[in-house]
């Protein structure tokens, strides 16, 4: 007796470890000690599991981050810094984010989700910069720079590259608010 959630959990683990192509029905079944037939009770096909993984990420990645920062009524500068810390210094975020982005490069379903999330996040940064007092046009350009840098960081770390030093965030923040 394996629940749908256990399949998803195993799927995410496989995704992070070896990319979407590592999310395979038979090995997962073996690992969960059931037959493949069990899988096809819970999901239509392999694609349905992959969709479920995207759904999972959508909930966790965006809303969770913004919701964690928003409630605290601090200054926009502090929110920016908190956002950067959460994304740049989180242990597990780069792993799953990197996996999803990598996947997204070759799968339209993942692509659609990532693009939507991209827009939500970039707009959020832009609004923070406007709150900080920057003119709209400058805020837009800098929000994009910061967001591109965040994505680049995820990408580099996902490839096993060294994470950026804390000093970098300071410099980046200074640049953005200059």
């Amino acid at each position: 007796m394996v629940s749908r959630e256990e399949w998803i959990k195993a799927g995410i683990k496989a995704l992070v470890r070896g990319g979407p192509e590592a999310v395979r029905v038979e090995p997962l079944a073996k690992q969960l000690a059931v037959t493949k037939g069990s899988f096809y009770w819970h999901f239509d096909d392999r694609g349905a599991l992959l969709d479920a993984l995207l759904e999972q990420w959508k909930r966790v990645a965006t809303l969770a981050v913004i919701d964690a920062i928003e409630p605290q009524a601090i200054t926009p500068q502090e929110r920016l810094r908190a956002l950067m810390m959460m994304t740049f210094r989180s242990a597990e975020a780069p792993a799953i984010e990197g996996a999803i982005r990598a996947w997204s490069a070759s799968d339209p379903r993942a692509q659609k989700v990532v693009r939507r999330i991209d827009r939500v996040r970039e707009r959020y940064v832009r609004e923070l910069l406007v709150e900080c007092g920057l003119p709209a046009q400058v805020a837009a350009a800098r929000a994009r720079v910061m967001y591109l840098a965040l994505i680049g960081e995820f990408s580099v770390v996902a490839h096993g590259g060294a994470p950026s030093s804390p000093a970098l965030f300071g410099e980046l923040l200074r640049l953005l608010l200059a």
Copy 2:
């Protein structure tokens, strides 16, 4: 009669279109109108073809870019701008770069190559910034910011997101040289 190079060319096309998992021996053979046995004459296995694709990228991506910029004895500021244009505004670079980076997230072989290229490029940007007169520490931080932004741009465009506007490069250059 299909040459090794034709297999590689077909492989790159498949990689860009559908990621590494789309680089499949049987469909490629069908497309080239030979049997799978032909493939195994030219390559040890599927992995050997993937290695050849990485080798190809290594030659084209780094050396080609830097070599195209370096010979012209212009100012470092102009080189920076040229580098940004080449990478941000190239039509095919984001496609193959995005495909390789995506692949790299789940494959140690690709990972190794990407990491080395990352270091080469970041160092190049840092040296340009130092030539522009920035102190070493500031140059290091800003080189990283720029390089992260470049990678982010590749990532976003590879997902089908809109490329950044030309105005963004101006703003980014201004920030870096401030």
